[in-house]
Amino acid sequence: MEKTVWSMCGMCSVRCPIKVEVEDGKVRWIEGNPHILKGSLCAKGSAGVALHKDPERPQQPLIRSGGRGAGKWEPVSWYTALDYVAEKIEKIKEKYGAKSIVMSCRGGPWQDLIKAFCYAIGSPNFTNHDSACGRNVHHASKSVYGLGRKGFIYDIANAEHLICFGRNLLASLRVAEANQVMDMLDNGGSLTYVDVRQTLTGIKATRFFQVRPGTDYALALGMINEVIKQEAYDKDFVEKYTVGFDQMAEFVEPYTADWAAKECGIKVKKLKDFVNEIGGQRPRVIFHPGWMLSRYNDSFYASRCLHILNVLMGNIETEGGQLFPKTPADCGVKGLRTFSSNVPKPEEKRADGVGWKYKHFDKGPGLFHLYYEAMATGEPYPIKGLICYRHDPFTCFPDVAAQKEALDNCELLVSIDTHYSEFGWYSDVILPESMYLERETPIATQKGLKPRFIYRDRAVDPRFNTKPSWEILKMLADRLGFGDLFPFHTAEDMWNWQLEPTGYTIEDFQEKGFVSLTDTPIMYDREDLEGRFKTASGKIEFINETLEGLGIPSFKPYESPKKPPKGRFRLVFGRSPVHAHSHTINNPMLHELFPENTLWINKRIATRLGINDGDWVDVIGDSQMGTIRAHVTEFIHPEAVYTVHGFGRQVPLQSRAYHAGMSDQKLQEGLLLHMDEAGGGLCLCEKFVTVRRSSRNPRRRVEL
């Protein structure tokens, strides 16, 4: 029997809409939803078939029977596992209070379910991975617009110039966005790329600035200075919608293009030509404000400047610029019922300090890494339980040894995941979620010029004894006495419960896999954007009074990044289009393409160290070491070495990924609490490592 199922890809966090062809209960074909992506899909998307076939994933609930991390598990039934977890949660609640439990997830369109569950337990400590990802960009955006980093979408296809500061968007692939970039280039648009090394995005660039690592902020300041000097900005827009321009102009005065060029190691003429060019192209100029900017001590300020450069281009709510994502309300449709809507938010203060100790951070998901401090010190109160849904803190956050030390104060660690995460391997209970082709997920809202509701249906039944997260949480909620907050027993019940206020039913999704809420794109009147910016002043704030009031400057004086001592390098990391961090390393198909990472090192330096391309090199942090092969290239800055994140996994049941390649986060020793105080993001590129030619390179063969 053949059927077509509408779903959403689960290979990475982009969640591209897909169409799945199923034949006799087997996945025969996956392609991008033709109505949205015209069939396009990346390598990871097609490799979903291999994930489904792969038995190297948790196949039933597991309760730890040996020490943490020893890898001894007792396979149990769902009833036993959920009873066990519920009992532990009740015990922790009784002894330390419900607030002692932290729930974390990956963020994204379905986090509301996890948040609702966390609040229903009675804990305010809902969090996600973002302090090791986009928090700096998010908080920078809030400080400029009063809107989060998803407060704008980028109309790249219609832009004349896209500027990416290390935003390697043709490798950190979003299929729709990659097509927008290629469309822009096909139409003669310019792409300026800034990075410490050349990348898949950079090779498509029309201009490339290879900068010294850690100098993004300097370059952005120099750009603002030069834009003001050349009067290349939109004066009317700035006049109408912004505050603090004069103060900003005064601040950037010393940071001239000449200064920035010298600091970053680029040619000043190239920088001035660039500003001249964008001055003629605005408002069709987009500065990508960054995505994963948990990197340097001043990444928050670098991102803030990129947001500001967009404002100076006047690119808001105009074709080829930044657009407000429209909501169901803009289409005259009521929004989906949210899971958290009937769960009151606990009033206790958060244990990560967000909202009271750190008043300038977004209280939504807070900052995960700060819970480690609470676990270690018991302040402001003890944290005794951690439930991670589809989130692997050991791969996401730095210094795994320090994390384990803090977690040892916890009485319950639960991993709900489709695969064995490193955290899962260390935890007490693994509740296996069905992989995305085997499960339904709640309906999600996708905002945009044409907002839509979209869903993921079950393509095939689970191969193993696994369940979708909504069912796992529902069953756990029943045991904890708040099952009535989630009043549904089947996926269809859940969808229709979500859809009730909207007037749609799940049948409306059958044709295309989604419901479009408007036929024509919606744009606001650019001349009347009053009330759209959610800052204290209601304007776009070059100088943010809230931050200033807390003693945090809107711009901080630039400090030149430290030069690594001789023989040491700044460790930077990134993505390949073939892998989604650690999630796909063990996928049989993707592993075949990209089985282990390499260390990019500058050719001149490598020659000095006697390292040839392909040699094994030891990469040494403080106490940790990884050994991988060198990729010797002239196209990386001599102060930096680079590797693809996600490798060096240590779960023996993942036979392909086990010890393949090197883990950057394990080398980032001492960085677990190294946070950008203004932006809340971790500073993951503030680590110097030693590199040497490994003794593993055989001099000659001494056996038969």
């Binding site: 069939g39 396009s40 390598a43 490799a47 990659a178 090779i203 490339f208 289009p577 198909m589 196209f635």
Partner: protein
Amino acid sequence: MNKYMLYLNAKRCIGCHGCEIHCKANKDLPVGPILCEISHEPLKSVKGVPKTEFLFRSCYHCEDPYCVPICPTGAMKKREDGIVYIDQELCIGCMACAGACPWTIPQINPATGKAVKCDYCMDRVDQGLKPACVTKCTTRALKFVALQEI
């Protein structure tokens, strides 16, 4: 004469290797054979930007293929529309075809012990669809072109 060809618009190709996996997934291939391949020359600086272009290679479906006559069982065939394919029923996995091919295109499928190669997804083509690599190409850089005599 050959009716079809695969064409890569290198300007749009981003080197994501999606085509290789789209192909493998469609043909249900185990670890081992990879029927199409994206490669690139080392980077070279062009006007200050280190550049390279991606190349796509699969079977060339030669006008006069060496692999067809050498096949001892007649499994390797050329259709009228030019598609060179392997009849899996007849193939004995001797790999004479790979030896005869100047580019060693046919590969062994360890799951079946038989040879396998690009056949432009002829089952899809016969249904009016495009090959897997083209249908799902991330940036729509790959095209399946029908050649016309002028």
